[in-house]
């Protein structure tokens, strides 16, 4: 294996992993709150379409990126209403949202095929370290790549060490218990869906503004579902998600790179592409669902919340009375 091939795999792998990492971070936030968003593929498609259109119209990639975030949040608001406040079945609704987004973006694109050839983001070369042989390619990436790593660390920290992260994870472990302790589970879940979908929309925009150079029908090509799988592969840990996304990037880059490696050239490219899926199934099987948020996919009807909040108030007032009683005694 020559260094050139290694550079192709490493560089290609990092470039390919970035949209998946952004979208995966969004899905991770939502799943930590107990909402499985199978509509991720659809949100990503919409983000890609709007991002490409805005970047084309304004000739400004950064605006395209923010448009992707904005439309992602809008999709998130719709999905949050359905998932959280209407307590619909998340799998069916998510699948249907994806089909709807596929239909809508394809129809719009066919009517007005703009945003197909975009300038995309410039590469930021980090001086010094980028000169290191082979590994240097890591430091010759678009700004979105660096920000994605920072975002992953921020999401990890936020979920572990802030009060919002605590509420989110509590809502994902058990909505009823969390509600009984006085947290508004619906608000927490709605916020995480909207926040998550902004990340996913950004992932879609990142895809067309860095990778593909423009929008075509079904441009995401199941990348959203890959991101969904990578969140599970990473065991709902944002730092591990970087590694999982990198695994996807490398296996995707391998299908092109191995053409130059004689010993691996006969391996069908479909096998490389199936590695992320197979790895996820394998990990799900061997961890025996240990890391799965306990309330994942279980809706929490609004009527339940009202009861629980009242219960929560009663619990708190009893506790207060007990505490004052202790003090008085």
């Amino acid at each position: 294996m020559t260094t050139a091939v290694l550079v192709t795999i490493l560089g290609g792998g990092i470039a390919l992993m970035i949209p998946v990492l952004w979208a995966g971070l969004g899905e991770l936030i939502e799943e930590s709150a107990g909402i499985i968003n199978v509509g991720i593929e659809g949100v990503m498609l919409v983000g890609a379409y709007v991002g490409a259109q805005v970047a084309q119209l304004t000739s400004n990639v950064v605006l395209g990126l923010f448009a992707g975030i904005g439309i992602g949040a809008a999709c998130g608001a719709i999905l949050a209403y359905l998932y959280v406040y209407r307590a619909v079945d998340q799998l069916i609704t998510g699948l249907m949202f994806t089909l709807m987004a596929l239909g809508l973006t394809t129809v719009l694109y066919q009517k007005n095929p703009a945003g197909t050839a975009l300038a995309g983001f410039q590469v930021w070369v980090i001086p010094g370290v980028s000169r290191i042989p082979v590994v240097g390619v890591v430091f010759r990436q678009t700004p979105l790549a660096y920000f994605a790593i920072v975002a992953a660390i921020a999401v990890w920290y936020g979920l572990r060490h802030t009060w919002l992260g605590l509420y989110i994870r509590a809502a994902g472990q058990g909505a009823q218990t969390t509600a009984t302790s006085g947290v508004n589970v619906h608000q927490v879940r709605a916020v995480s869906v909207i926040m998550g979908c902004s990340f996913i929309g950004l992932g879609g925009a990142a895809l067309v503004l860095t990778e593909t150079g423009g929008f075509v029908a079904d441009v995401t090509n199941d990348l959203g579902f890959i991101a969904l799988a990578m969140v599970m592969l990473a065991g709902w840990n944002a730092l591990a998600l970087i590694g999982a996304a990198f695994l996807f990037g490398v296996s995707d880059a391998m299908q092109y790179a191995v053409q130059n490696i004689s010993s691996l050239a006969h391996v069908p490219h479909d096998l490389w592409l199936s590695i992320p899926y197979l790895a996820t199934i394998f990990v799900l099987a061997i961890t025996r669902g240990r890391d799965v948020p306990r309330a994942l996919g279980i809706p929490f009807p609004v009527s339940d919340q009202r009861v629980r909040i009242r219960l929560g108030r009663v619990t708190q007032s009893i506790r207060r009375r007990q505490e004052s009683g202790i003090r008085a005694g």
Partner: protein, 359 residues
Amino acid sequence: MLLQPSPGSTVDGSDWLVRVRRGTISSIGSFLLALLLGAVVFLALGANPVSSYQAILSGALGGGGSLGETLNIWTPFVLTGLAALIPFRAGLWNAGGDGQLYAGAVGGILIGLTFTTLPGPLLALVIVLGAAAAGSLWALIPAVLKISTGASEIIVTLLLNFTAVLLADYVITGPWAEGFSATTRQIPSSAQVGSWVPGTNVGVGEVTALICALGVFLLIQRTRFGFALKMFGSNRGAAQLAGLSLARTTLAAFGIGGALAGLSGGILIVSIHHALVTGMSNNYGFIGIAATLLAGLNPLWLLPAAFLFSVLTVGSNNLTATVGIDPSAGLIVEAVFVVLLMALGVLRLRLWQGGTQSL
């Protein structure tokens, strides 16, 4: 997840996991609302909504073999719908209809291209049966993982869809490829099942779908296995206390369901495409699930529900020629319809909230 009413909802004695609440009127209301939202999309794209819907209707039900095409797509919708329906009755999810269809098609085409010396009708039969077996095996993977490790069957079936597409792609581009086109070589012409209605492809597939739906209806209503399915569907704990085996029921539900989805792959090969082609299943599995839910998990109601979706799907192909809109517009109406059914509470899935049983 699934099963058992949530604490806030009412408990009724019926064994339905999915209820089409307030009956047909609300369903029709949701459908009209979906059509209305579709009309807004058509208007926004500069097309006349009335002529768009006329184009869909004439494209699906008009002359020139279009009804035949609608029925051709109705077959995989019914079969993948049944594949989701059977595990669903036991509170288990099969989101992998597409994958099982592809696995079946792969198995069928490999048989069809290997045993070319067999007499035609026999080969056709072996292809279809082999396809059913392959689909069944593919569906048993999530079932076995579910039983042995507790891995969510929802996620595994979903992920195996993409793996099956890649497998099919390998077969299409690999040693069985027909030049550089997106298809394998054709099965021998003697094994290609012709149509029973002149000018269309209608025939063996549609009849098979009908028989399978009736068969599944009888299976659920009249057999021990069907009783076990419904028992697990309505109360998992009680079913286990009564001595029914969850493992055996899970295996059987996925095995039979996968066989039906695989069967549709085999039928597509012997009667429609005569080869394995790229994009053979265009989200058929997902639309099959939608049809199954609309049918309230009733195999007989699945027949008209699947027909509704096939009219929308096939009719939309007519949109490009008439009003200049991409056929994907049909997907929007279908998806919005199902989302509305769920959002308006017409379609209610019961949820399993017991302890650690989540995804």
